[in-house]
Symmetry: C2
Subunit: 122 residues, 2 copies
């Protein structure tokens, strides 16, 4: 029997900011949740588009040519190779869709692929 | 400059029930919105998993071994080949994620792939 998933509840259970929890997989894409406060570093993903769907709070996705401010229910696709920096004044919870986990709290270092440099996997 | 999308607003603009509007594409998957009332026929998609994310209303996804009732914010992945029948008592609006449009109002006939039979594209 298939089970439904409630991403908002899954996000609430996360203890590490900007770390992603995989909820489901379909057609080679993962559905992941994360919660964020403050911001990440500027980065891009060379191998995958990243889709944000905001669940709660407010999330500003900074881009080199301007900011996109997401309210709950809003969706934004950041194409591969596009530098971005998600930032939340308070706390934002969001769903991410893409083929791989792009940030992990393991070791406190995200395994992002940085534009213009080697991925920081230290 | 990237633009955000508000699926709930896009769904509100749909005039045909169970017809899908493509909002965005990422990693080979389409993000689509639809609104439904009543139900579709029982069907399955042999070539793709179908992910439902409910935006508003209530949507029951009937499966051969039971029903899954979705509330707003709930997510359900229906794997390829699994027969299902979405049904809404009132009106449900939802986001769908998958590589192709699986229902269109063109001609009033969905281009579903029916389990056990040839796709009905008449």
């Amino acid at each position: 029997m298939l089970q439904k998933i409630t991403p908002a509840e899954e996000a609430a259970g996360l203890t590490e900011f900007w770390s992603q929890r995989v909820l489901a997989s379909a057609n080679g894409d993962l559905f992941k949740v994360a919660r964020g406060t403050g911001s990440t570093e500027w980065h891009s993903h060379d191998d995958q588009d990243e889709t944000f769907l905001l669940l709660s709070g407010e999330l500003t996705v900074q881009l080199r040519d301007g900011d996109v401010v997401l309210s709950p229910g809003d969706l934004l696709v950041v194409p591969r190779g596009v530098e971005h920096r998600p930032r939340a004044e308070g706390e934002a919870r969001f769903l991410l869709v893409g083929p791989e986990v792009t940030s992990t709290a393991a070791g406190g270092k995200p395994a992002w692929s940085y534009a213009g440099g080697a991925p920081d996997r230290s």
